[in-house]
Symmetry: C2
Subunit: 160 residues, 2 copies
DNA sequence: ATTTCAATTGCAAAATTATGCATTTTTATT
DNA sequence: AATAAAAATGCATAATTTTGCAATTGAAAT
């Protein structure tokens, strides 16, 4: 009745979504605890089918994730983010620094969003009331940085 | 002058973004061809730092990707997608089928979006002019499917 | 029920990736 | 410039993941 496989993959999915899996062996244990019988080889194949990715996590070493499954939370945040982009006024460059001017009071929120997204191109930010200082990574060009910003706040696209 | 590392990682980034890397050895070759000298060990560490993920690809086996870097194209498509969600009218379930009713003419576009996203919960779709038939995977619940749809078109959230 | 074909899985080995440790290279300090 | 401290890297190996192949299991057809 070919149901074992489906059920198993469904369970794998759930476990992965909790974001606490560091290796296939570990996942295998959890599955066995829940009564599934299989080997790591089969698991590897399941993960391939489910397109489960192994991604480095700054703190936890490596974790397994399901790419498509962006959490609801993150999705709805995008609206807020795009709203904030309205506060953006202008950007100027000097060496490895970029200075962003915003409407009064917007600087901190926007900087927070950037920090949160932590684009690789930007090492860090400092924000006042209507100004944000972005320190960019060595070897990054202006357009790299602009792209990074657009990536964080799609709406900026039109204002740059 | 500690510049080699930065440059190298920058190059790694570029290569990965082209989406044609299947293994570290392969990437290593490309880097060497471009004049970088390093071992697989260092590369592994670089990838960890850059948070490069190894993800199964239906056709190509496995490819390395940079999670955060969603392509501009994809990002801007989201607007179109959310616009389409306006055409959504209603959804009904029967067994492992779901029937979506849309405004006249919307069915095909919406189905196309779903097909493209290819959520795991949905095996396939058939679309007429104002009706879409969704065939769901075995073992999936109604709410699983609804969540999958919301994942594809965030704006649906409010209409369900 | 028996046979046939395809799908699923385990086993064992190959392939790939991660890491401890020693060494080299950079950076900072005096 | 010399020395000390920190960062980066290679080597060798361990750990993990993937895969070819044979065996098993389930489904379909006669």
């Amino acid at each position: 009745m070919m149901k074992k496989k489906t059920e198993r993959q469904l369970e794998i999915r759930k476990i992965i979504l909790d974001g606490k899996v560091h290796s296939q062996e570990e996942l295998l244990m959890q599955l066995k605890k829940k009564g599934f019988e299989l080997t790591q080889a089969t698991l590897s194949r399941d993960l391939k089918l489910l397109q489960v990715a192994k991604v480095p996590h700054p703190a936890k070493g490596y974790i397994y994730v399901i790419p498509g499954a962006e959490k609801r939370e993150e999705a709805s945040q995008k609206n807020r983010v795009n709203f904030l982009a309205d506060g953006f006024k202008d950007i100027q460059f000097s060496g490895n620094l970029a200075v962003v001017k915003t409407l009064p009071g917007y600087a901190n929120s926007i900087a927070a969003v950037i920090d949160r997204a932590a684009p690789w191109e930007i090492i860090g930010t400092v924000a006042g009331d209507d100004t944000i200082l972005l320190i960019q990574r060595e070897g990054i060009t202006k357009s790299d940085l602009i792209n990074a910003l657009i990536n964080v706040m799609p709406n900026l696209r039109d204002k740059l």
